[in-house]
Symmetry: D2
Subunit: 146 residues, 4 copies
């Protein structure tokens, strides 16, 4: 069974727009929160990785909007790693309303490993190692998240 | 030649992140600015359409990130209408640095026409009419934008 | 002892800027989260109040920045009600790093009660009642928050 | 007559919230745009200053909200320098609707000069020099802005 993390949050007033729903760009921010939680759970925090010179930059993103989230809704972001290479990886996200389970958004983002001055580079073997373990179904500690 | 609008802006400090570049979700906001300018140029302002009960909601979005924009860079968003149906349309965007012409992001967003309570509905014939004219290469006034 | 709520969150990557710290406007969003939690704890959710036609609009805000929050820092927002009138109220906020306790920002925001079309109006007596209880040191259930 | 810059923009859809008006934190972003234009006009771009190691961090902010801006409204930010010291300065802002002249927000932000690692430091004499000229009523070129 694939390793998956679940991130929880409530919709902020600032995230709504005048249509009365969450502004569509904000789901990418929630995906980033999901990815951050996934990486932390799989091995080490991304904040920590950046301090070691690792940079992961988004190279592609796609989102499909199924239903709208509204102010104060409890949200759940399910994050998994759908592919992993030496210089990058792709995450998949399923964003649902936590109380009803209604599907809101499905998304994926491809990330590439870059140097601090922006050139493509291979990820450190250690990082790739624990990401591969997570993709295979086991986190750093071998347990299923959440 | 397809109708295209060009929107110009400068990168705001608030739009950068700690990687020193524009945070990736913000390009969707720039696409919205491009779309707003396109619609205004093609016929009537979207603000005006909303007052008449027309709602266009994003149903799909995809972005490819080619290079990074940085604080204070002059930006140009080229927007065109790539497809048009009775209940929706797809816009295509090309975001470049205005001074060097460097390509930053290509993107597309599909929009659907909904009622004020969120159900799919056909767009008013008038709106579809001037969007079709714009797609065919002529704005409301028949002129090429910008 | 004054009623106070404590809201917890982690700094999002999207909230940083190229100075490597949280962009200063984002603290106002965290204040809103604190206020939302305070109101929910004091009586009913603000989402619920809005559905009943109550609107609270920010009329004044002031912030003092003591130290910078950084990506992934655990944050705590302490929110209390510093004054309450028939048509408005003032909230005070103390934002700290949850792990070190370091003070980041102190802030206050004044809110006014408005109708759905934007005119000043008195708050419903029920709402004012439970806010007064909260200010006096007791939430809806009489208990101290968190 | 005091030197003042005028920055123009249109309200973005992303800047609205479900109350149908601009979310209150976004005015701080507009103040930053005003400040950026002021600094550029007074001497050199802030982007340029940062490359030379100058950092100006917001230490205090206060805003008074008089009326609401709405989607697509044309906005004008009037920015002036209200005080200047060796280690900091205070800017004042008046944000109005460009078409009607209606006053929306008045604000001020204090900024301090810091080193790249966050300690207080005196501003370079050159920068303080042209800011003093601007405060006295003359920009770098001696002309009144806009």
């Amino acid at each position: 069974m694939p390793f998956e993390t679940v991130s929880e949050m409530r919709v902020r007033y600032a995230e709504t727009d005048q249509m009365g729903v969450v502004y569509h760009a904000n789901y990418l921010i929630w995906c980033e929160i999901g990815r951050t939680d996934f990486i932390r759970r799989a091995g080490r925090s991304y904040a920590d990785l950046e301090r070691d010179g690792v940079r992961l930059a988004v190279s592609d993103a796609s989102l499909r909007y199924h239903a709208s989230a509204r102010y104060d809704d409890p949200i759940r972001v399910h994050t998994s790693l759908s592919s992993l290479g030496s210089r990058g990886m792709t995450f998949a996200y399923r964003i649902v309303r936590a109380d009803t389970g209604a599907l809101l958004v499905t998304a994926s983002t491809a990330l590439v490993s870059i140097t601090t001055d922006g050139r493509l580079t291979a990820m450190p073997a250690e990082v790739r190692g624990w990401l591969a373990s997570a993709q295979g179904g086991a986190g750093a500690g071998g347990a299923h998240a959440e």
